[in-house]
């Protein structure tokens, strides 16, 4: 496999490049990432990470791509997002669903970084609910005509190729969708100005309009009508790569915090000598470990051709929340300095914030995963990744069994109405992904066994807490399981203000 040969070499060159040429502070201050920087990234081969060798790429596989994105994110999250988006959502639909002629035409240029890829699904009226996408791709002879506007297009400012999600009313059903490839230089494509963002400021985010844009019919990727599931397949890569970026942020935040608490002295001692500071750092190390273990488990699943969607979703949620929590802890341990931009940790927090929103808002992913568990569409098998026995594996089995019992009991009580008890479903989903994270820690091949076990224990504790929260709900009616009390309903519906007087 190219994976094993290429990865160490790429990583060695990458480390040198990051050390010498990448400074997150100045990248951010310079606005959108420069063409010169993009050219250097291309020279390292980073735009061809996931592209098969026969089209000039490195064919790394998901695990190898994750490893590179983690390295990039340790230095700069905007750069990691640019490269990760290109290699995941940007090129996977073309690799997996494109015809041979189309792949031969575009993939070599994408691998060389001559052309950078974007993925455009979101619209003004279609964010979490992509079934509402209004962009149309209608057949006209041997072409399709694209009409619509896409928002929040990452890489859009410099991308040469957009993969867009469009409705195909004349094929694949009235609400059928498909992914369609649109080259930037096609007449009718207009790229808007860069958005001003909280974080990821060196990455590009724009609106792109398509006015009567004609592309040959072979630019429709995959089967017309299968757009939604094709997008989900690409998101398996996208979410895992984004989670890998969060691992990089987690490592960087933990390194920065450790460095600070080792050197900063108060009360005549280094901060690291205080038990509560040590506890913060230990929690950070355990959390980072679990995040990394989940990403690696997803990488192994992809290599084996196993189902990836559950692990990608679990990694996306655990890593986006973990990265934000770790940045927050790193700021706390820096004290006032952490609040100043010069510390670097403030930027990490700003950069990490969006990961709980994009590629599927966490609340939405949790509700969907919870519904799948509740409808017994998702099986307990999916969260067991380890093979070891021993006391922790036995505890995993116990917690796993508790979750199944809680699910069965909830189904008995709520029946079909339970599929609308969103907070209950999210609690089940949280227990499920914590179990997957625990199992990933136990399955990890890291020599740091004590850390692996403690990280797994944290996740099992978390899973138990969510099962207790969910199991409390069945005692109430399905409506109450929404956990919105009548006074809240009244308050929320009554006035636009949320002012509260005690």
């Amino acid at each position: 496999m190219p994976d094993a040969d290429a990865l160490p070499l790429v990583e060695a060159q990458l480390r040198r490049f990051l050390r010498r040429e990448v400074d997150a502070g100045s990248l951010e201050a310079g606005g959108r990432i420069s063409d010169a920087m993009l050219a250097k990234v291309a020279e390292l081969g980073l735009f061809g990470l996931s592209i098969p060798e026969r089209w000039g790429g490195l064919e790394l596989g998901l695990a190898g791509c994750c490893s590179v994105v983690t390295q990039l994110a340790r230095s700069d999250r905007s750069l990691a997002t640019t490269v990760g988006l290109h290699n995941g959502l940007g090129v996977r639909p073309l690799i997996d669903r494109g015809g041979d002629a189309l792949r031969a035409r575009w993939l070599p240029r994408l691998a060389a970084g001559e052309v950078i890829a974007s993925f455009a699904a979101t619209e003004a009226g279609a964010g979490s609910d992509l079934t509402r996408a209004a962009t149309l791709a209608t057949l006209d002879g041997d072409h399709v005509v694209v009409e619509g506007e896409k928002h929040f297009v990452t890489n859009g400012g410099f991308a040469g190729l957009f993969t867009i999600l469009a409705r195909t009313p004349d094929r694949g059903g009235a609400r059928g969708q498909a992914l369609v490839l649109v080259p930037r230089d096609t007449p009718g494509v207009t790229v808007g100005p860069e958005e001003h963002k909280l974080g990821l400021r060196a990455s590009s985010t724009v609106t792109v309009r398509f006015d009567g844009v004609r592309v040959p019919a072979d630019h429709v990727l995959g089967e017309p009508g299968a757009g939604a599931s094709d997008a989900l397949a690409a998101l398996e890569w996208g979410r895992t790569l984004m989670a890998a970026g969060c691992v990089g942020t987690a490592v960087a935040a933990t390194d920065a915090a450790l460095e600070h608490v080792r050197t900063r002295r108060q009360f005549g001692r280094p901060l690291l000598s205080f038990p509560s500071v040590r506890q913060h750092v230990a929690a950070m190390l355990r959390e980072s470990f679990a995040m990394q273990a989940l990403v690696m488990a997803a990488g192994r699943a992809e290599r084996r051709g196993d189902e990836l969607s559950h692990l990608a979703t679990a990694a996306k949620i655990v890593c986006s929340e973990g990265a934000f929590d770790l940045c927050d802890r790193a700021i706390q341990l820096h004290g006032g300095l952490g609040y100043l931009e010069g510390s670097g940790v403030a930027r990490m927090l700003r950069d990490a914030r969006v990961t709980r929103i994009f590629e599927g808002a966490n609340e939405v992913l949790l509700a969907r995963l919870g519904t799948a568990l509740y409808a017994a569409e998702s099986s307990a098998e999916r969260r067991r990744l380890h093979e070891h026995d021993g006391p922790l594996a036995a505890r995993f089995d116990d917690v796993d069994a508790h979750l199944e019992v809680a699910l069965i009991r909830a189904r008995e009580i709520h029946g079909l109405a339970g599929v609308r008890a969103q907070t209950l479903l999210q609690a089940f989903a949280r227990a499920d992904i914590a179990l997957a994270a625990a199992s990933a820690c136990l399955a990890s091949r890291s020599p740091e066994r004590a850390l692996a076990h403690q990280a797994a224990e944290d996740q099992l504790d978390r899973a138990e807490r969510w099962i207790v929260a969910a199991a409390g709900a069945p005692e109430r009616s399905a409506r109450d399981a929404l956990l919105v009390e009548p006074w809240v309903e009244r308050r929320l519906d009554a006035s636009p203000s949320s002012e509260v007087r005690a």
Partner: protein
């Protein structure tokens, strides 16, 4: 209106249109919940759960997962009414 099969059928179709925020005359029995109406299997569960509440029916979840068309949903409601009678 919900006492007769025709009444239940129109209410089912009306509810589907309400949930999808589309005109009621655009929802037709042969349409597929997924490809034509853009509902995936989990969203169709939500739809059926609302139907169950509105029509005061206990709809079994296992069968709910197997519905493919608007017609299936109407027939499913009728079967459940008959079974409960």
């Amino acid at each position: 209106m919900l006492e007769t099969p025709d009444g239940r059928r129109s209410r089912t179709i009306e509810l589907i249109a309400e949930i999808l925020e589309v005109q009621v005359d655009t929802v037709r029995p042969p349409q597929r919940l997924r490809e034509d109406l853009g509902l995936d299997s989990l969203q169709s569960l939500e739809l059926l759960s609302l139907l169950g509440e509105e029509l005061r029916l206990e709809l079994p979840m296992e069968e709910a997962l197997e519905l493919e068309t608007v017609e299936d949903a109407c027939a499913f409601v009728e079967r459940t009414v008959a079974a409960n009678a």
